[in-house]
């Protein structure tokens, strides 16, 4: 069964005013359990609005959202319980830190869930380990930490709620390259370890290509496409027309193919490209040897 399902989800900002804007326009999609979905789109394409619907922070103007087959907003009393199934990490999540110590801050979500003390402790320590925070950091004030550490504490705060679905809105923005790859790495680690569903909103095609099993491309409040990375990047021309680009490595291979090299053009990670090139090279040397003999 799909863990997230939206049916004709539509959201309109400022209905009845001159500032009326359709932010999400009849979006229907379903996300299966255990998937790693990348969400890509321009600023203002509706991706942030879309994900805020998935845990009931926004109420759809039209359409429905189903989490685990249960409709959000059908019963307001259940909203809170369903909300705990979908963990949402906002952009710049470090701005939500408020407790005296990192430990307490990570424990804030689990505490709101009404979990017993020892369970909270287990979750805090486990997620702290997962995001690479040592015990002495847990006792520090979150305001003393570096930017990357703060970010990890904030993400841990949501992970500790152990949601079935973890949604992250540009978790790596504003960090240096090292911090970026560290955050993205720990998200992949989390996905591998927990086998939970993850949705990653990003600007970077490279990040999404590297990690995701499926990609959702949003354009002008609508779903542009929702498919495997290979299928999505196969439509490079169309993506470029809406102002998004395919990963650099995909472009390199498309050019190589156009120049007559015998390579596929569905390469979208550097690792796969390397294998492909090595394979093509060894084939070529083998052929040359044969012809020499």
């Amino acid at each position: 069964m799909a863990v997230i399902k939206t049916e004709d989800l539509t959201y309109v900002y400022g209905e009845g005013t001159p500032f009326r804007k359709v932010a999400v326009d009849h979006v229907s999609l379903s996300v299966e359990e255990g998937e790693f979905i990348g969400v890509i789109g321009h600023t203002g394409s509706g991706k942030s609005t879309l994900i805020q619907h998935l845990n009931g922070l926004l109420k759809p103007t039209e359409g429905r959202v189903l989490i685990d087959g249960e409709e959000l907003w059908a019963d307001k009393a259940r909203l809170q319980a369903i909300r705990f199934k979908v963990g949402l990490v906002f952009q710049y999540p470090e701005y939500q830190l408020f407790e005296e110590t990192c430990y307490k801050d990570i424990a804030y979500g689990p505490k709101n869930m009404g979990l017993p003390e020892n369970e909270i402790d287990r979750r805090v320590r486990e997620t702290a380990r997962l995001v690479g925070l040592s015990d002495d950091v847990l006792d520090k004030s979150p305001f003393e930490l570096s930017g990357g550490q703060k970010r990890r504490v904030a993400i841990a705060g949501v992970m500790a709620m152990e949601p079935k679905v973890l949604i992250l809105d540009e978790p790596a923005s504003g960090l240096d390259p090292k911090g970026r790859s560290r955050i993205l790495g720990l998200i992949r680690e989390y996905h591998k370890e927990k086998k939970n569903t993850v949705m990653l909103v990003s600007h970077s095609m490279e990040d999404v290509a590297k990690h995701c099993s499926k990609i959702l491309v949003m354009n002008k409040a609508k779903v542009f496409c929702y498919d495997t990375p290979a299928a999505v990047f196969g439509r490079a021309g169309e993506l470029e027309r809406i102002g998004l680009s395919v990963p650099q490595i995909t472009r390199v291979f498309a050019r190589l193919k156009a120049m007559g090299c015998r390579v596929d053009d569905d390469v979208y990670t550097v690792g796969y490209g390397r294998e492909m090139l090595l394979g093509a090279l060894s084939k070529q040397t083998a052929n040359e040897r044969e012809s020499e003999a």
Binding site: Q96, F98, N112, M161
Partner: protein
Amino acid sequence: MLKDITIGQYFPGNSPIHRMDSRVKLVLTIAYIVLLFMADNIYGLLIGIAFTLLMYTISRIPPVMMLKSLKPIIPIILITSALNLFFIRSGEVLVKWKFITITREGVDTAVFMTVRIICLIVGTSLLTYTTSPIDLTDALERLLSPLKKLRVPVHELAMMMTIALRFIPTLIEETDKIMAAQKARGAQMETGSIMKRAKALVPVLIPLFVSSFRRAEELALAMECRCYHGGEGRTRMKQLKTSAVDYIAIAVMAVFIAGVVVVNHLTKGA
């Protein structure tokens, strides 16, 4: 949610009233208040009402806004009229029931006071409806600039007001974001007792304070980088200038004040 709150009530437009020099508008608003207090009977107030209606018509502010401006002071109006109605004991008695005595003078005063308060609020609201908050602080700074001689930091105060006004929408947006983030972590802000809800605000207020301080520091730095060092010798991008419209407005106001004086005199004679 929070976005629905309008801060300041500026109603953009291009009527003659909108185009007036904000200093003149401010001074005339004060003159208007004086007019209302000069009128010592209901006929004088009628002139005030006429003036208010005339100005609203010229400004093309929707009449609904007049009612909207009155909404917050309804309790004040009710209390004042009730006090006047029940506690003025002089004059011809109209109703006498147990301890309640209502006299003609009481009714007159109650009506008079109510009309005066309504005129006061509706009329002065027009200033904020037709002048943007920034223009208003500008006007204040100019009008108060003589106080600089008395070492009152007029420019600094005006700058502080301008910055505060500028950052209100930013703060609202920020609050919205933090609230959403904490709600996603299970904070309950819409249910529970008042104490519980107040407690739920802590996770919103602390991050808000932290980011406000950070933003203030950044802004101060950015201003210093552009060589801001107080009001000394600064010129303005937007020069305040009086034009024909302002002189006409002053003349109209003078006529109405004269009208009130005449009416006061006539009714006294009668």
